[in-house]
Symmetry: C2
Subunit: 395 residues, 2 copies
């Protein structure tokens, strides 16, 4: 007697989450050092020392009601102000606390924004490959996902098809850069064109189209690559941020939304996001973690760790004959499956205790995602296994 | 361009939350000591010392990936096991970790359970007066609220009307005891009859009806009153618990669902709650707070504090001629409005800096809710204001 919608979801469940559970079981069976679990984006880099120092400082020096009590649904005002100031310094913007809504991670933030925006039957555009959970988030509010086919050469969004698929039912567009699963950063050129198309279509259709940008990987960019600040390219942008990856806090569920004052119906939108935070059952982002962010705004994870994994993995795999693009950001590598059916490839890889995620999970079959937010040893020790796998497949 | 559903919600917003914001503004204007804000259930008792001790211990002695990383969507297995053991000791049950899903407070838990159960158009029964947010939670999943009129003599549920209103569209029933806003504890007799009616109706209609019991106030019972464990009275019960009130942690968003193994479709229901936790954007309850609960399972808030407020307020108000029932639990007092329109009464009270919540917020007009989880001084100093109010109204 569970809901019909959920029946299908429970059966399908999340391939990634199922693998996470399978990986834990395999680790228990074969020993953790013999399982190469590249399935989940669970950072292996510890949170920066400032985080735990801040927790202890806050616990020792904050009144209990302030520390653990309710605050406004949008979060602690002073933390929101600190975040606004930080963004202003980084991007030359002029945000204040009023532009920030604290959220239960980016997943929470995206649900809040979609709840605020979507009417049943509204269309939401996303560019394949993309994080499959977007489908569920949009379905929560009876939206309809419109998928733009991937450009597998550059993995930049296909803007020609994008323009064609915008209709008067298009309520929003979701982008994610640095991208999960490709590691590609959407370029300034891409964002400029995307902004122009959206402005043009808004006028043409006489409606607002919000651009939601999911940015948990914003701080993870290699070789000095710049991650453009999307609201500078399009007025009606809502930014969803999370500290899950940038501060290695995925289990703590802390992030924020940025709603620029220039966005259409700014006041209503902010009000709706506050109410959505409450009625979806978040009520507010966890208080202690909000206060931690207020103190650790300049803390940074050591990305040289991921960078080393990235280089070792990319070089190792291409040397073995696998085909992949070098990721510019995030901690994923999107590799072409050497055989047509990438699910079959994932199964073969499992024989070597290599856990990969099929690209179809990201609406892009024929590829697999390798999450390299693992220990360096896992990367190094996986390469002989990838070599055996390459040999079996005749690479 | 926000969603139509949200437009109405933003306009109506939460009366309680609006008052919370108003109270903060009034405190800034008149001085906190001159504002008697009885609007929000934000505990004024500090969290027990064990909580902050546990946080520091955990931060100092836990690996960062374990502490701050992802775990299964249902939560840390060992914490779930500790909670199951605690319940077994209290209620003679035989739960295991598999029966527990960690949630983002009870609000998160209720949304997860409703997402798991409801099909659009399904009916959900609740007994007035009840926490108005249930309306929004049910509406999130396109359910239809069916309200049982209050029995204003005892504030126990009206079971005759209940039986009449169960239909083949009834998917679940929500109860809340100790009750917000009345402070009444649903008796064993009530629960026995309720269980019998539900069993009978399930057979008659050939469908499952889940009973969701929202229990954030379970630990707050005065004069040794017993709060019955609802699953012992009805097999298809889902318990939603929160540490917001019992450990004074409302801002931290930590609670759990109990899904007894005897419930219909137990495996599907557990699976659905796990998936719902993920796709609604909670992903998991905050990791550090889960671990804190694992260490503080026997910690208790000092309820003598609330008890003193309860007695002082009840005696003071009745002496002034106000009509109310003495609460048995929670930290709310539900007082009859001396004039028919309780919203008007609330406005008059505001002139004396007394912030009360109209009963219509709880589907029970003609009454007001007084949340006495405030300082003793607030209670004591409010009484002369209530006296002036009584005088103005000719009591």
């Amino acid at each position: 007697m569970i809901s019909k919608k959920m029946e299908a979801l429970v059966k399908g469940s999340s391939v990634i989450r199922a693998m996470f559970e399978e990986g834990k079981q395999m680790a228990a069976k074969y020993g953790a050092e013999n399982v190469f679990d590249f399935s989940l984006g669970n950072p292996n880099v510890p949170a920066p020392a400032e985080v735990n120092e801040a927790i202890i400082d806050i616990v020792n020096n904050t009144d209990s009601v302030k520390l653990h009590g309710y605050m406004s649904n949008a979060g602690h005002d002073e933390v929101r102000a600190v975040i606004a100031g930080h963004l202003n310094k980084e991007y030359g913007t002029s945000y204040s606390a009023a532009n920030i809504v604290m959220t239960v991670g980016a997943a929470g933030g995206l649900n809040v924004a979609l709840k605020a925006i979507l009417n049943p039957g509204d269309e939401v555009i996303a560019f394949a490959p993309y994080f499959g959970e977007y489908n569920n988030y949009v379905s929560n509010f009876d939206g309809k996902m419109v998928i733009i086919t991937p450009d597998t050469k550059s993995f930049q969004p296909n803007l020609t098809e994008f323009e064609q698929k915008i209709t008067n039912k298009t309520a929003c567009v979701i982008v994610n850069s640095p991208n999960n699963p490709t590691g590609v950063i959407y370029s300034k050129e891409t964002l400029t064109k995307m902004g122009e198309i959206l402005e043009k279509k808004q006028k043409e259709l006489g409606r607002t189209i919000y651009l939601i940008t999911d940015e948990p990987y914003r701080e993870l960019a290699y070789d000095g690559a710049e991650v453009p600040w999307v609201p500078l390219f399009y007025r009606n942008t809502i930014v969803g941020y999370s500290y899950s990856k940038s501060l290695s806090l995925p289990g703590e569920r802390i992030g924020y939304l940025v709603i620029p004052s220039e966005a259409d119906d700014f006041n209503d939108l902010c009000g709706a996001c506050g109410v959505a935070t409450r009625i979806l059952g978040f009520v507010n982002a966890p208080s202690i973690m909000q206060l931690v962010i207020g103190k650790c705004i300049d803390a940074k994870t050591d990305i040289s760790y991921y960078d080393r994994n990235r280089n070792t993995l990319y070089e190792g795999l291409t040397k073995l004959g696998f085909e992949c693009q070098k990721p510019e950001g995030a901690f994923y590598l999107f590799m072409k499956s050497p055989i047509d059916d990438e699910k079959e490839f994932v199964n073969i890889a499992k024989k070597y205790n290599l856990l990969l995620v099929p690209g179809s999970t990201f609406m892009c079959s024929g590829y697999v995602r390798i999450a390299y937010c693992v220990s360096y040893e896992t990367v190094v020790n996986s390469l002989p296994k990838f070599a055996e796998l390459a040999k079996e497949l005749g690479l």
